[in-house]
């Protein structure tokens, strides 16, 4: 690992309110380029809000979010950052191929590149199926293909592995690792702890604050827990004990 990895995403003092309620209460972090960062936390902890702030679709109350040196969501980033939403954002009345080809075309990429992205997510046999007729996992993979086809420098994924079978989940994580090895920066939210071990760094979000921002190994060491699930429980109890 390089001594001081350049930050691809830097977040400082980020505050977000939704409907008058604080969702993010001033979070800071630096995410290194070419790494996979896991964003973990219970549902309702603000994971999606954090992710939307990084891609620039969330109204923020305070703080700054910079991606690749530009303010989140600004024009130069729209060719370099891809976002995979929690519910597959694809057109149900188009085929898998037409969906991926459309997003590819927006970036000046052709149908062959679209087909390659479809193959990569293991949807080659379903390319001509209507997206609306796919299973939940297949929709997610199609949505992912729409992001992979642009070969983004920063890939932001909101719970991409929900409802996927273990084999495909494993394959996707292998791909995430490959992308990071190729220099891409990935931010992946999840609530599955066994995925946490495949990340370079973990952010644990709880009630709008990061209660951990560390590597999996260091988290286990500092909490003296056997696994990450236990480490997180330890952190949460420590926090609640202190209040």
């Amino acid at each position: 690992m390089p001594p001081t990895p350049k930050a691809a995403i830097s977040v400082a003092g980020l505050v977000v309110d939704r409907g008058g309620n604080p969702v993010l209460r001033g979070v800071d972090t630096e995410i290194a380029a070419g790494s996979v960062t896991g964003l973990l936390g219970p549902s309702g902890s603000g994971k999606t809000t954090f992710i939307r702030a990084v891609v620039g679709t969330q109204k923020v109350k305070g703080g700054t979010v910079n991606v690749l040196g530009h303010p989140a969501g600004s024009k130069p980033l729209r060719r370099r950052v891809a976002y995979v939403t929690q519910d597959a954002s694809i057109y149900r009345d188009l085929s898998v191929k037409a969906n991926v080809a459309y997003f590819a075309a927006l970036y000046g990429r052709d149908k062959h590149e679209a087909m390659r992205a479809i193959e990569r997510v293991g949807m080659g046999d379903h390319a001509n199926k209507l997206a609306g007729n796919l299973s939940g996992g297949q929709k997610t993979r199609t949505s992912l293909a729409c992001a992979l086809v642009i070969e983004p420098e920063v890939l932001v994924l909101d719970e991409p592995t929900v409802g996927l079978d273990p084999v495909i989940r494993e394959e996707l994580w292998d791909q995430f690792r490959d992308l990071a090895a190729g220099g891409a920066t990935l931010l992946v939210s999840s609530h599955v702890m066994d995925e946490a071990d495949r990340c370079d760094r973990l952010l644990l979000l709880r009630e709008g604050r990061f209660i951990a921002d560390d590597t999996p190994a260091q988290l286990r060491a500092s909490t003296r827990a056997a696994n990450l699930e236990a480490a997180f429980l330890h952190l949460i109890r420590e926090l609640e004990g202190g209040e």
């Binding site: 679709t57 923020v60 969501g73 729209r78 939403t85 057109y91 037409a98």
Partner: protein
């Protein structure tokens, strides 16, 4: 704004529309059938049909484009694809104009079928040229699209979007001169009628019906309708937000 992305977007929207065969069938057949029905009802009064049939030719694409645009755009908003598009190089105007091109094409096809049936088989006649009727119908359809685009911002469900029909479309149809001549309405209603863009589409059509040559008055009325299209489109584009709560 990018012309390339605009056409890619229009192509995607048309592909979505063409994939739904039943909708395509309804778009193409229904206006022609309704105009045929009206023609049969008014069999004894061809002069009345000459007015009503001609207005319906423009009113149908107007209603239809309003409906399909408000619902398709609402789907983009609620289905998450709009949020996704806002993180891509797609500009707001690329999307909105893309919609205009796609649904304008659909409106042109619809008008072509309905006008062919009306002029060739139902004896509809105008003193002026048919192309002028066609042009007015297309611009009126774009007006429906632009209004649909704008109101989709105020609906959170498809059910609500449908309820906007009686609010934005029906009063315009009643006041534009379709069921009663505007100049025979009460003074204050004439004022309301003058403020509604569809009224000018009807005025333009009346010019074509009664004058052999294309008149300046027709161009003036059509310009007003087109102006309303531009205003509603810009307002509609302004309701698309890159950042939301």
């Amino acid at each position: 704004m990018s012309v390339r992305i605009t056409f890619i977007t229009a192509g995607r929207i048309l592909r979505q529309l063409l994939g739904d065969h039943r909708t395509v069938g309804l778009i193409l057949a229904v206006p022609a059938l309704i105009i045929a029905l009206i023609s049969a009802i008014m069999d004894d009064a061809p002069q009345v049909f000459a007015q009503v049939g001609l207005i319906l030719l423009a009113a149908f694409p107007f209603m239809l484009m309003f409906m399909i645009t408000s619902i398709t755009l609402l789907r983009e908003r609620t289905g998450g694809t709009l949020e996704r598009l806002m993180t891509t190089p797609t500009g707001k105007l690329d999307l909105v104009v893309g919609y205009g091109i796609a649904f304008g094409t659909a409106a042109a096809a619809q008008t072509a079928v309905a006008a062919t049936v009306a002029f060739a088989f139902l004896g509809l006649e105008t003193a002026g040229p048919t192309w002028a009727v066609f042009l007015i119908c297309i611009v009126t359809a774009l007006l429906g699209m632009a209004l649909g685009l704008f109101v989709s911002a105020f609906a959170t469900t498809e059910f609500q979007a449908i309820q906007f029909m009686p609010v934005f479309v029906i009063p315009q149809l009643f006041l534009c001169g379709l069921i009663w001549p505007a100049d025979q309405m009460a003074g204050w209603l004439q004022g309301v009628s003058d403020a509604l863009p569809l009224t000018y589409a009807v005025k333009a059509l009346t010019e074509v019906r009664t004058n052999a040559e294309v008149t300046d008055a027709m161009w003036g009325d059509l310009a007003i309708v087109f102006g309303a299209v531009v205003v509603a489109t810009v307002l509609g584009a302004a309701t698309l937000r890159r950042r939301t709560n």
